[in-house]
Amino acid sequence: MAGYKLLVVDDEKNKGLLYEQELEDEGYEVDIAISGVEALEKFKMNSYDLVILDIGMPEMDGLETLGRLVAIDNSIPVIIYTAFPSFKENFMSWAAEAYVVKSMDLGELKLKIKEVLGE
């Protein structure tokens, strides 16, 4: 797992910090973006192995952000990480590699990250 660099996008700063800490404990290098706009800027400036993307964000929601991310580079996998399973019905979510519904512990997300990165 060493060496993988992740971009976590969530408009709730405290959640982002929690994800950062937990995922760094797993050995990943983590960047945080608190909006779709910031995510796109960081995505253009840096090289990531994986993006973890919230959907419900103000201004530019996660699905729009996803569309823009894959337009820049569709080879970087994205995991949608949202509290709402209903976005699965939106076919634009298919641009993501995986879809994980948020829960209190990050076990499922961590497993999915490993799966997507082929660890």
């Binding site: 569309g67 894959v70 337009a71 569709n74 699965k88 019905e89 939106n90 076919f91 634009m92 979510s93 298919w94 641009a95 879809y99």
Partner: protein, 339 residues
């Protein structure tokens, strides 16, 4: 004064506004079309979908590459999955089944805005044939009792993308509404010794007041007890219970009927959002749940619902829909629509 009308199949009541009803221009439901950028259904985006389970494609082209006319893929994030065993449990008064099923998406065309009314008959024949083949394939799994084929167009109708697509969700149970229609059809058959749908088609052809279009094998009409303004049913004139038994001549006739009917709808209402659903018999594995002779008393058909009104408290509470446009008025507009 309005009137209540009873659907002869299900016994469901509707309230029809028989005074001067709403005209097509009173409705505005044009679709907010989504852009084609990053559309997972457009040609060249094959990598964004799960592998195709079926495709109509040019010779010498590989699966999941360009060169297709129709692609069928499983839903990437399905509500029901085919993997696993189906266990059925009772917990007191409650009952549960594992979420076994299937969810396929039929990408109808490479064109992002290539809607039914604009396509060639040949293209629609290929589409209908794809419907038949996929339903036939799904119904080979005897864990799956019913396969619902449906099409959503526009956000109000539940579509998230403008790119034309149809979905099939196969369930391990026969949905209640399908069971109600089967039981209603059986009751009529018991009393009259005839198929209720054949009788409806006969009545419609006799009066002509609600017919939208007909050819040798298919008819489209606004049903007597329409729940929604401009609701239409498309049915084969020859008695047939199971859509998957459609033959090539009937497929061509259905393509023609569907295209003309949708052209008339567009000419009357602009670019409405709508749902199309297929009603057909359940899998043979579910036959034991219903009176014997399903093939005699049921009759497959498509239903089209333009999304022009909202379902509100009264409809949810009673199941009685209030339709502000009498089907006779809707049919008249559709009959006279210049296409």
């Amino acid at each position: 004064m309005s009137e209540l009308r009873k659907d002869p199949v299900t016994g469901r009541w509707v309230v029809i506004a028989t005074e001067r009803g709403k005209r097509p221009t009173d409705y505005a439901s044009s679709e907010q079309r989504s852009e084609s950028a990053n559309c997972p259904f457009c040609e060249g985006s094959e990598h964004m979908t799960p592998p195709e389970v079926y495709a109509v494609r040019d010779q010498n082209t590989l699966p999941d590459t360009k060169g297709w006319n129709i692609r069928v893929v499983t839903n990437k994030f399905p509500a029901l999955r085919p993997e696993g065993t189906l266990t059925h449990e009772r917990r007191g008064i409650f009952e549960r089944l594992d979420g076994i099923g299937a969810h396929e998406v039929i990408i109808e065309t490479t064109g992002h805005f290539d809607y039914i009314q604009d396509r060639t008959n040949e293209s629609l024949i290929r589409l209908i044939d794809t419907y038949r083949l996929r339903l036939e394939a799904l119904m080979r799994d005897d864990r799956l009792m019913y396969a619902q084929l449906f099409k959503n167009k526009g956000e109000l109708a539940g579509a998230s993308l403008s790119h034309p697509h149809t979905q099939i969700i196969a369930t391990p149970v026969v949905p209640k509404s399908v069971g109600d229609a089967l039981n209603g059809s059986h009751s009529y058959f018991e009393a009259e010794k005839r198929c209720v749908f054949c009788d409806i088609i006969g009545e419609e052809r006799k009066s002509g007041a609600r017919i939208v279009y007909e050819n040798d094998s298919f008819i489209s009409f606004c049903p007597y007890a329409s729940r929604f303004p401009f609701e239409m049913w498309l049915a084969p004139k020859r008695h047939k219970s199971n859509f998957i038994s459609i033959d090539s001549a009937e497929t061509a006739a259905l393509a023609d009927c569907l295209k003309i009917t949708m052209k008339k709808l567009m000419a009357s209402l602009g670019d409405p959002q709508y749902n199309i659903v297929l009603h057909t018999v359940p899998n043979a594995a579910a036959a034991g749940e219903f009176p014997v002779g399903m093939d005699d008393y049921y009759h497959y058909h498509f239903e089209i619902f333009p999304k022009l009104t909202k379902i509100a408290g009264f409809e949810w509470g009673t199941g009685i829909h209030i339709n502000p446009t009498p089907p006779e008025d809707a049919a008249k507009f559709l009959q006279n629509a210049e296409i």
